[in-house]
């Protein structure tokens, strides 16, 4: 047993401990904190699995932005914890435990009995890498070989934001999401929000740009930009935009819209939906990615800001 294996077992044990804590601890706030720590350590597991692109996404979106979302909800719902209803009966919990344990056991057995040699699509990805002019295999899969998935996922983001907005009350319809953050303009949070975002913008754009050839891409860069935007909002330096703003809506549909347009172009002039002409594959993919970066950053930020709660004037 070498040192890497020891490290892996320790990492898995801590992750498992945090998962148990997240489920078992009575206090919701502690469970949320436990889940954030879990998400960040799972990102380390992804690094150990040699999936750095996923690790970046997991740390930025799963651990970071998801953590902010859950913490915010837990803080707002803290008062309801006192009047919580009693849990399900012992029989229900016991059968749930048996069901969960047997499913976990079945999955574990499956993991141990996976076929050898394992099926893989990696050689196919390598064989077709020349078609896009990019060397990051994951970006190739996301943007070209399984571009349909990625486009539909943008549509899912759009549907989610429409769903969140539709929860606004009549008075706040089309207004500004979330509460107005009243931080001290001379305070240290405002200080960080003045200092950090410009550097965050450079990092976010770099992560997008380097995604063509190295781990990174529009999701990870968009998450960085979204968090910078949220920092400025939480420090009270800017307000959330009213959701009826035309500019905002234009940015939100820019990513999926451009993706769809390029896809239809492939149908008209090329061989199939989303078939990029080989000569322009890289510039086309890059322009889709730039539009996607803006869309993803705005969507993630607005999903975190929540449903409109105030009219645009206030």
């Amino acid at each position: 047993m070498n040192i890497a294996t020891v490290f892996e077992i320790a990492l898995a044990a801590v992750v498992l401990g945090l998962a148990i804590w997240t489920i078992a601890v009575p206090d919701t706030y502690s469970a949320t904190v436990g889940f954030i720590a879990y998400g960040l350590l799972v990102a380390l597991i992804w690094v150990r699995l040699d999936a750095v692109d996923v690790a970046l996404t997991e740390a930025a979106i799963g651990g970071g932005l998801g953590g902010v979302l859950l913490l915010g909800a837990a803080a707002r719902l803290r008062d309801t914890e006192a009047m919580t209803t009693e849990g399900p009966s012992l029989i229900v919990r016991l059968s749930a435990a048996i069901l969960s344990a047997s499913i976990a056991a079945a999955l574990a057995v499956t993991i141990l009995l996976l076929p050898d040699p394992a099926p893989t699509l990696a050689p196919a990805v390598v064989a077709n890498a020349g078609a896009t002019g990019m060397t990051n295999p994951v970006t190739n899969v996301l943007m070209a070989f399984r571009g349909m998935d990625t486009m539909l996922e943008k549509v899912v983001l759009l549907l989610a934001i429409v769903g969140v907005w539709s929860l606004a009350s009549d008075q706040a319809w089309g207004g500004r999401p979330g509460p107005r953050h009243q931080a001290d303009p001379n305070g240290v949070l405002a200080f960080l929000a003045r200092l950090l975002p410009p550097a965050g913008i450079v990092v976010g754009i770099y992560i997008l740009w380097t995604g063509a050839d190295h781990p990174g891409g529009a999701f990870q860069g968009g998450a960085v930009l979204a968090s910078m935007w949220l920092l400025v909002i939480m420090a009270g330096l800017v307000d959330t935009p009213p959701v009826r703003s035309r500019w905002l809506r234009l940015i939100l549909v820019a990513g999926p819209g451009l993706f769809l347009a390029v896809g239809l172009g492939g149908l008209c002039f090329g061989s199939a939906f989303l078939a990029y002409p080989v000569a322009f594959a890289k510039p086309l993919i890059l322009s889709i990615e730039v539009a996607m970066l803006l869309t993803i950053a705005t969507t993630l930020g607005l999903l975190l800001a929540g449903a409109p709660e105030r009219s645009a004037e206030r």
């Binding site: 001379n186 200080f191 410009p198 913008i201 990092v203 400025v232 330096l237 800017v238 307000d239």
Partner: protein, 173 residues
């Protein structure tokens, strides 16, 4: 992104003055950051230009240009002092944490600072949060409130020395 939809509605956004010098300096800083991240590669020029332009624009909107004179030797001295202090601070905390008797005399110390509220005071508290045995916990009646691990240490004198070094380096006006 940070600006396009939000800044028009903001309160604390300052007007962009004609401070080209500040803009150039900040753009140079962001260029350095880009070069550290991505390296020098001619193919990167469009992305680098977009990143630097967006970052500089945001930075000028978020943080007013400062008009005070800076002194490079004093900045270097401040940086060295800061490095030395953070080593002392870490060793101090480690010693206290590992000592079986747990030698702590925690308490609050009030420090009257000469720095104006806002960015200058924030820079000062951020630097001093890494001083040995002190954590800034906010302000009360115009004084900074520090929490100390050991109130018998000469905390106020150390803070005053740090403030003097900071003023010499950045706010010499």
């Amino acid at each position: 992104m940070t600006g396009s939809s939000g800044d028009r509605y903001g309160r604390a956004v300052v007007a962009v003055g004609g401070s080209w010098r500040t803009a150039t300096l900040r753009a140079a800083f962001f260029l350095c950051l880009w070069l550290v991240l991505a390296g020098a590669n001619p193919a990167d020029i469009p992305a680098a230009a977009a990143a630097i332009a967006a970052a500089t624009w945001t930075s000028l909107h978020l943080l007013e240009p400062s008009r005070s004179r800076r002194s490079i030797p004093a900045i270097v001295r401040l940086a060295l002092l800061f490095l030395y202090q953070s080593v002392v601070a870490g060793v101090d905390v480690a010693r206290r944490a590992l000592d079986p008797r747990l030698p702590l005399r925690p308490g609050f110390v009030f420090y009257p600072t000469g720095l104006s509220r806002g960015v200058r005071r924030n820079v000062f508290t951020t630097l001093t949060s890494l001083l040995p045995g002190t954590v800034p916990t906010g302000e009360e009646n115009g004084q900074l409130v520090y929490h100390c691990l050991d109130v018998e240490q000469p905390v106020v004198a150390e803070l005053a020395a740090e403030e003097a070094a900071l003023v010499r380096a950045l706010y010499n006006d």
